[in-house]
Symmetry: C2
Subunit: 192 residues, 2 copies
């Protein structure tokens, strides 16, 4: 199970056999059931995550309605804003599927960093990549209408369409489920 973490880290930095062993010996893998909540609005996040298997959904509650802001799949890290700021979380993290997740916390991460100082380089590169991704996604969201957003998703994140129920996808795209159905019908008519 830890192999995917080793593979992920090895994309960014070279790990010695000894370092791989240190990571493999960490006992930080947990199983979660579909609908398990990892973080609630108003709570301070003490944990950060790496998805080994499954999908985690981030959502805000607005006017009593769940609004999805992100989905995390295999080989993605989840560092809640609240984990970094130590302020109460503005959003929930919830398992959309049964999940296998590596869970870190500050004490454990600090110890790991002492044993493998190079990991700080990994974190830095990871944050750089996440910043690029977030900026591009935000710009795309602003500069496209809902139909274009859907087509972009189809092109860039096809796993979203295969694994996320339409009602969750709709709020992620900032539209109602009826609008999303119309968009999908329009596109399939065009392609017919």
């Amino acid at each position: 199970m830890d192999k995917s973490i080793i593979d992920y880290i090895s994309q960014y930095i070279k790990l010695s056999e000894n370092e791989k062993e240190i990571i493999t010996k960490q006992n930080f893998i947990k199983q979660y059931k579909k609908n398990d909540i990892l973080l609630s609005e108003g709570k301070i996040a003490n944990d950060c995550y790496f998805v080994i298997q499954g999908c985690v959904r981030a959502y805000h509650i607005k006017y009593g309605e769940e609004r999805n802001t992100d989905f995390f799949f295999e080989n993605q890290t989840i560092t809640p804003i609240s984990y970094q700021t130590k302020q109460p979380s503005q959003y929930y993290l919830c398992c959309l599927e049964n999940c296998v997740i590596a869970v870190g916390n500050e004490e454990r991460n600090q110890k790991l960093l002492e044993q493998i100082p190079n990991l700080s380089l990994l974190i830095s590169k990871m944050n750089e990549n996440l910043l690029i991704q977030k900026t591009v996604e935000f710009d795309d969201f602003k500069n496209h209408n809902p139909e274009e957003r859907y087509l972009l998703l189809l092109k860039n994140r096809p796993e979203f369409l295969n694994r996320i129920p339409l009602y969750h996808l709709a709020t992620y795209l900032g539209i109602t489920q009826i609008s999303l159905s119309r968009i999908r019908n329009r596109i399939s008519e065009k392609n017919a």
Copy 2:
């Protein structure tokens, strides 16, 4: 002029007198006129920036219309996505006011990092903070209607309203200038 850079860096890491001198000796400060273009769509960015004075506007062109996606003021860094990815830029960077800007490039940054290795910690913390900011702004944009977005801006980024013309602010908020005027009228009637 370099004092603001030293102050900015000192928020994140401790600089020795010698290191401050190395930074002060860098000759990377340039003056730009209002409307000068720092980066064009389709070009690869070789430079990154730190705004000492003035304001820089980021915009995409969509259906022949400029759509603002970000504004950078004093003490903000600008690292174009294209600088990081080496892919052609999707957007323009343009001076909204006369500007004084510190300009970095990879060769210069590399040399500085060799002289002051601690700067890598600065970059890492900076990216972490920018990632938090971008994520919060994106979530806010998705979860609020235009009037709420305007009120959030009024609260969180009052400099936006003081220094950015309304027609630029409107596209940043994802609305027309007429809608923005209506929102402003509604708010001032409420407060009257």
